[in-house]
Each structure stands twice: as structure tokens, then as C-alpha cells.
Symmetry: C2
Subunit: 452 residues, 2 copies
């Protein structure tokens, strides 16, 4: 196994992928179809046109084309920051004393500081191309909202963002970032939509959730001319765009002369996990490779490890199609953990099917363990990771420590989905000893699912 | 002039510079010598040993070696993030409608988010090598303190940082970053040193300045066994380490098939400016090239444009040697601008000599113009720049708009010294219309200088 001690691996502009990888085409068991909630009929792309760009709607349900071309205009913007570096984490390996080879894909050096920009540029581009003038979305911690705000500016669109209220308050500077890019930002739930009003009258001082913010953004798109809704994760087309991460990593791992035994991503709706995992999973499906894929989710929001596979809404108000997914129920109110981007009740339909078919694994991580992992990573690699990314780091550390016990030189690759520089208030709380773990009892989970 | 529309230019690990460039060796008029304040004798390296690492002391006064080897151990750490990208700012060019070709060196993607890490790693390394266990320093906005905290961790040293109080309060999350890296952070002026006590008893509620924080850090180093002081700018050895920026940029500009007509850096103590400028200035000195070099300083702290060339102390308490430099007087109390890293009364001795000899220029920029420039850059390039870097961007925009008027296709290169993600409170204030310009009258400047 070659190891020339090179630390970073980068691609030239002409090596940046020209196509995204659509794993749906290669899956033996396809995801079950989303259903129209009124008719219970399988969804057709046309059913999504009122809310989404038409091209994105077609990508969402495309079960046949494994490779979808990245539009020239989007690739031109990718070139400003891609490839992102693949980095060998020698510092972390040394700190752990593990024989494992740890690599991370550093999406934190994108202009807006996370992987979210990869799909934001694509979604804004398709909307612009189809004559849309206004786009709307929801955001949790604000990584997605910041990415969409910048992408909207790039393509000359107006952006309106509903930010989950608890994150709006915990991380005020992500709001400032969105505003610096020129977006309108509203804390959710708000009184500006029926969905928001319903929730606020039923539950005053509701702290918000991604499910609620999605309802508000969809309602705004439905009731505003020439306005489309965009989503930062969960949906299959978002994950499709994020496969640029894994496709680059594949080439970069080859430059390092290695191939991953384990691929790890944190898990909110599935897009950064799928983005790094699916291009490698392709080789498991088509060539029988045996790489393990681990999704790392918060113990306080354990849809993959403790949720139920069922048809459920993607949002709190029930505006979305019914999605076949692992879910905690769309009325689930997640605890106020600092990884705002992972506070979502369901998993994407692709990942849900893959998990059902044992093509991947999931682990849940407690909040204190995520920050402990984040601090160790910061001290050994110099990068302060987003609280979301800390879940992937914690899972990586667990696997690397198993290697230390067994003496195995496994190759572990994880996605550093974003930096945590806007999350320093959370680190502050952690360092001051003010953070706690939130775990759900089986009863609480059952109750939440039964509320459906 | 080749322009293949490539956006980013990166070097491979083996193209990263192996030597720093010491412009002092090539200067026809050498900087005047620093003086021992007691004897008024020119300083010898040995005079600095009680405070600084011995190797750094020798580098400081080295007038003969143009190339100084970067230690292997430092280069190994450089490889984790260097080369930083050279980026063609097509977005900004388009927004301005200028025929100028604008390039920026993106130091914001270093692990700690700015160029400061380049010297922090070197300084921590030399201290470690010489058996030092504790290092201390001052920091303004916190970019340097964050870099030194991480570098100390890398080489197994304890770090104590005095942060200028106004920045400690304006930017609490840089403190958190330093603490996450394991450093001790104290707001300055503090009651922990004689220098701090003197200032606080004379001026209660003093907001602090870099000059004051330097006094405190030097005092700590002097009174603590096995502890050395380190500095983030001003001194010649710091600028030396930063030349890795310009040396890379030289190769990267060649990849782009261009050579800069104008090189611009923001100016606090001179290290990021000198870092990007000196490797190109070398060709002016040795080969008669005609590149212009512009240092962009705050209108509220105009030592280059309105200060006086004189022997002055580097700190408020008068602990440092007397330095021959453009200065506003070491008792100068800068206004509370948000570019905390530029609130320093003096300029480095090299830059001061170069300015005297008309080998470079200086411009001053008003606070509101810097944020206006920063927002335009953010919206056109997706990166939110540090308030310090906004000074370089504003100067770049001024030059690019002159090109628009004249129709000249000049090549402009500036250093994006860091991102502004920890400075979002400042952007917030700007967007809310709460910021003002601070300008000094000639009387105020004269008074400050005469206080000396």
C-alpha cells in the first residue's frame, strides 16, 4: 500500500467530475415511490412541478440514468473551489495512536464553508434557466441557507430563507452571512404563513424544527408567483449533486494509492453522507467490493437507528408527498442540540432503502461525544469542525480505536462537511461544561411515531 | 497574454517553496538598525535572546542572506494547507465592469482562516527546538492568537495570549477558538502585569491596543522561566515567514501566464503586505521591473500616509528596542474600528525604509468603504473577507475602477489575508447602518506623535 507521506490530494480543473452519479439507476431494490397524499398514487415528476424546478423534479425520480451531466454553468462555479482537498489526517492518527489510515474530504474550504454550495449552485441554476425569479428554502444551523443565498446572488435570483428559530437565536451570525449575501431571513415558525401561525397558536414559543421551516417555505413558494422551493438535503436530487464529493474522493484516494475500507458521513437528511458514500458504494453494488458505509446521527434524533420505516410526510404541516423512509414521525420535535443541521425527523428515500437492504450501517452519537471529538480534531488538524461534522469525526474515532485494539491498518474516509467557525458559541458552552446529552427513551420514540 | 479561463491555480507539494525570501539582503538602502533604548547602541541579535528565540533574533537582523531555508518540520505542516489557491476574481471583475485582471491569493482557507499560521508554525517550531516550554503573545482581532494557539499545540508548547480588550469583547468567538486549541486568553490591559496595572490605574476602562498587549506579553515572557515572546507582525522575521505567500503567488501567476502590474495588501504591522509584495519587489530591485506595491491602511490609524518616520518603541510601555519606523507615536490610542488587526501605531522597519525610498506606496481607507468593498466581494466571490482584508479589497477596487476609466487591462494581485466569519458582528453593524468613519485631524496626529 503506497504511502508517500503526501498530505493533500487535489485535482486539476479538468479532472473535476463532469457528471453526478445517480445511484438509483444501479440499485437492485429501487426506493419505493413517493405517494401523492390525496390519491395515494405514485408520484410523477409533473406532480412536483408546482413546487420544484422541472429538471430537479425529473432528477428526483430518475431510476434509469446512472450519470447525469453537470451543466457547464454549474461546473464553471465549481471550479472556483473544487476539487476540495482530500487530506490524510496524520495529526489525528498520531493523537489516537491508531494504525488506521484516516483521510478526510475537506468541504469546509468552499466559499461558504460547507458542502451545501454544491447543490445550491445546481438548484439555483436550474431555477434561473426555467425563468424563476424568486427561490425560497428552510435552513437549520444556516449552512444550507448561506449556500443558497450566495447561489441565488450568483444567478440573479431573490432568496427568502426560513431559519429554524432555535438556530436563528443560537447562531445569529449565519443570519448575518445570509443577509450579507442579500437574502431575506425569517425565523421559523413565523406569523407569515398559515403553517407557522397554526404551530405558534398551538404551541407558543415553539423553537422550530426543519419540518416546520420546510412547511413555511413550501407555502411561500405555492403562494408566490414565479417562486420555487429548494431543499438542502433529504431529497434524492440533492444527494445526486453532492456525489461530486465522493467522485472526487475516488480519484484522490487513487492518487494516495488507497481505497477506503470504511466511509463515514454525518447524517441529517442524507445528502453529505450519500454524496461521499454513493460513488464508492457503486463499486460494492457492481463489483462486489466490501467497503462499509456508516451514517452518524445524533442520539437525540435517531431516525436511522431507532426510527420506523414507513410512509411519512417530509414536513410538519403535511404539505409534501408521502415519502417511504425511516422516520421518527413528522410531528417529532427534536431536542435543542447544537448540530442544527441534523435535527430532522426523517431520512432520504435512497438511504432508507439502502439501510433496509443492509448496504450501509448507522450509528448514533451523543452530543458530548461529538464535541469531544471536535476538540480533538481541532487540536490535531487545526480545523474547527461544524457540530454536524463532529458526528462523523466521532464515528471515525470509534472505528480508528477499534483498529488500535485489533492492530488493523484499515483505511477510513470521512466527510468534513463544514467548519464550525459560526458555531463557536456551541464550543463555548461545551468548554464551559454547560452542554448535556439528550437521549430518547423507547417510549418517547414510539409515542412520536404513533402521533403520525 | 494567456488567459485560458482557468479560475484557480495550485501548486503541488513539491512546488511549495523551500526557502523564505529575506528582502533585507537585496535592499540597496538597508533598514536603519533598531537601538537599545538604554545605550542607544545598534541592537545585536544577542540583545533579543532574553525575549525571543535565538534563531528568530538572528533572522530579525540578517542583512546578508537573501534565502533562508524553511525547516523541514515547518514545511511538513505547510503541506497540510499550502499552496493556498491563487484565484482569478472573475466575479468581482464582472461586478465592477473593469478590464483589469484581478487575482487574489486566498490565505483564508488555511486551517485557522488566515495567513498568520505561516509564521506561527515557524515561531513555535524554533521555540520548541531551543527548549522553550511556554510561549506568549498579543493579539488584536484574534487571527494571530488563534494561529499561535494552534501552532503551540502542534509543537507541544503552552500558549498564553493577551487579547486587546475591545476585540475580546467585539469578537468573543476568536477567544473560544484559542481556548478550543488549548490556550490561556486574557483581555488586555489586565491586572496580571505591571504594564497592564499602570495603564488601568491611569486610564480606567482602557479599551486596549496592540501596543499595550505587547507590553503585557513581553513582561510575562521576561518574568516566566523558559518562556519566550512571539509577535504576529511588525518584525522583520515575521514578514520573512510570510514571503511564502508571494513566492507561491509568483509561480501561480506564471501558471496563469501573467505578471502583476500592481500588488496590494492590507497593512497593520506589515507582515501580510510584505509577505505577498517582497518576492515581486525583488524583481523591481534586481531586474528593474515596474510593479507598483500598495499598502492599504485604515484612515483611523494612518501611520504610513500621515505618520512620522522616527525611532519609536513598538509597545505602549516602552519595553521593546527603539525601531526606526513610520509611527503615530507609541502612546497612540487607535479608534475602535472593526479591523482589530490593523490598530497598531507603527510600521515594520523594512516597510518603513521602502516607503521612504519610494519603492512602495500607501493609501488609507475609511471604515465604511472597507465594509462596502467586503460586501461586494462576498456577493461576487462568495467569500466573506476579514475586515482587515477588506482594506486590500477596497484599494483593489479603486485601482480596478481607474482601469475602467482608462481602459487599461492591468493585472492586479491582492492578498486575501483571512476570512471574516468570526467578524459577522461587525458586518451586522455595518448592514444595520451603525458603523461610522473615524478620521484623524492633523492636530490629533501631531499631538500623538509629540506625546512620544
Amino acid at each position: 500500500m503506497a504511502n508517500n507521506k503526501q498530505k493533500r490530494f487535489l485535482l486539476t480543473e479538468d479532472e473535476i467530475p463532469t457528471h453526478w452519479y445517480n445511484i438509483q439507476a444501479d440499485m437492485v431494490n429501487k426506493p419505493m415511490p413517493p405517494l401523492n397524499p390525496a390519491t395515494k398514487e405514485p408520484l410523477k415528476p409533473e406532480d412536483l412541478y408546482p413546487i420544484f424546478s422541472e429538471e430537479l423534479s425529473r432528477q428526483e425520480l430518475n431510476m434509469t440514468d446512472a450519470w447525469i451531466e453537470i451543466p457547464e454553468e454549474v461546473r464553471e462555479y465549481y471550479k472556483y473551489y473544487r476539487s476540495t482537498p482530500l487530506v490524510r489526517a496524520y495529526g489525528l492518527e498520531k493523537a489516537l495512536g491508531t494504525p488506521a489510515h484516516i483521510y478526510f474530504k475537506n468541504e469546509s474550504v468552499s466559499p461558504i464553508g460547507s458542502h451545501k454550495i454544491n447543490s445550491a449552485l445546481a438548484q439555483a441554476y436550474y431555477c434561473k434557466k426555467e425563468g424563476v425569479t424568486n427561490i425560497t428554502t428552510e435552513t437549520g444551523a444556516g449552512q444550507w441557507g448561506a449556500a443558497l443565498s450566495y447561489a441565488a446572488k450568483v444567478f440573479g435570483l431573490e432568496a427568502a430563507v426560513y431559519q429554524v428559530k432555535i438556530s436563528y437565536e443560537q447562531k445569529p451570525y449565519r443570519r448575518s452571512i445570509m443577509q450579507t449575501f442579500g437574502a431575506q431571513v425569517t425565523p421559523s415558525p413565523s406569523m407569515s404563513t398559515r403553517a407557522g401561525k397554526d404551530i405558534l397558536t398551538k404551541t407558543p414559543n415553539h423553537q422550530g424544527s426543519l419540518g416546520t421551516a420546510i412547511s413555511e417555505a413550501i407555502e411561500l413558494a405555492r403562494t408566490t408567483p414565479n417562486c420555487k422551493y429548494t431543499l438542502g438535503s433529504v431529497l434524492s436530487h440533492v444527494t445526486l449533486h453532492q456525489t461530486v464529493i465522493g467522485l472526487e474522493a475516488e480519484k484522490q484516494m487513487a492518487m494516495a494509492g488507497e481505497y477506503p475500507d470504511i466511509v463515514i458521513g454525518c447524517f441529517g437528511g442524507g445528502s453529505n453522507f450519500g454524496g461521499i458514500a454513493f460513488p464508492f458504494m457503486r463499486h460494492n453494488i457492481l463489483e462486489g467490493k466490501k467497503t462499509r458505509f456508516i451514517a452518524a446521527e445524533p442520539a437525540s434524533c435517531p431516525k436511522l437507528t431507532k426510527g420506523k420505516f414507513m410512509y411519512d410526510f417530509g414536513d410538519e404541516a403535511g404539505y409534501t408527498p408521502l415519502l417511504p423512509m425511516f422516520s421518527l414521525g413528522h410531528k417529532f420535535a427534536p431536542a435543542n442540540i447544537h448540530a442544527g443541521g441534523l435535527r430532522y425527523h426523517g431520512a432520504g428515500v435512497i438511504v432508507s432503502q439502502l439501510l433496509k437492504d443492509n448496504l450501509m450501517e448507522a450509528v448514533d452519537i451523543k452530543q458530548l461525544d461529538t464535541f469531544k471529538a471536535g476538540c480533538l480534531f481541532a487540536q490535531s488538524e487545526g480545523i474547527i469542525p461544524a457540530p454536524e461534522s463532529c458526528h462523523a469525526i466521532a464515528a471515525t474515532i470509534n472505528e480508528a480505536l477499534k483498529c488500535k485494539e485489533s492492530g488493523e491498518e484499515k483505511v477510513i474516509l470521512f466527510n468534513l462537511s463544514g467548519h464550525g467557525l459560526i458555531d463557536m458559541a456551541s464550543y463555548d458552552q461545551y468548554l464551559a461544561g454547560n452542554l448535556v446529552n439528550y437521549e430518547l427513551s423507547d417510549e418517547e420514540i414510539t409515542q412520536s411515531i404513533e402521533k403520525n
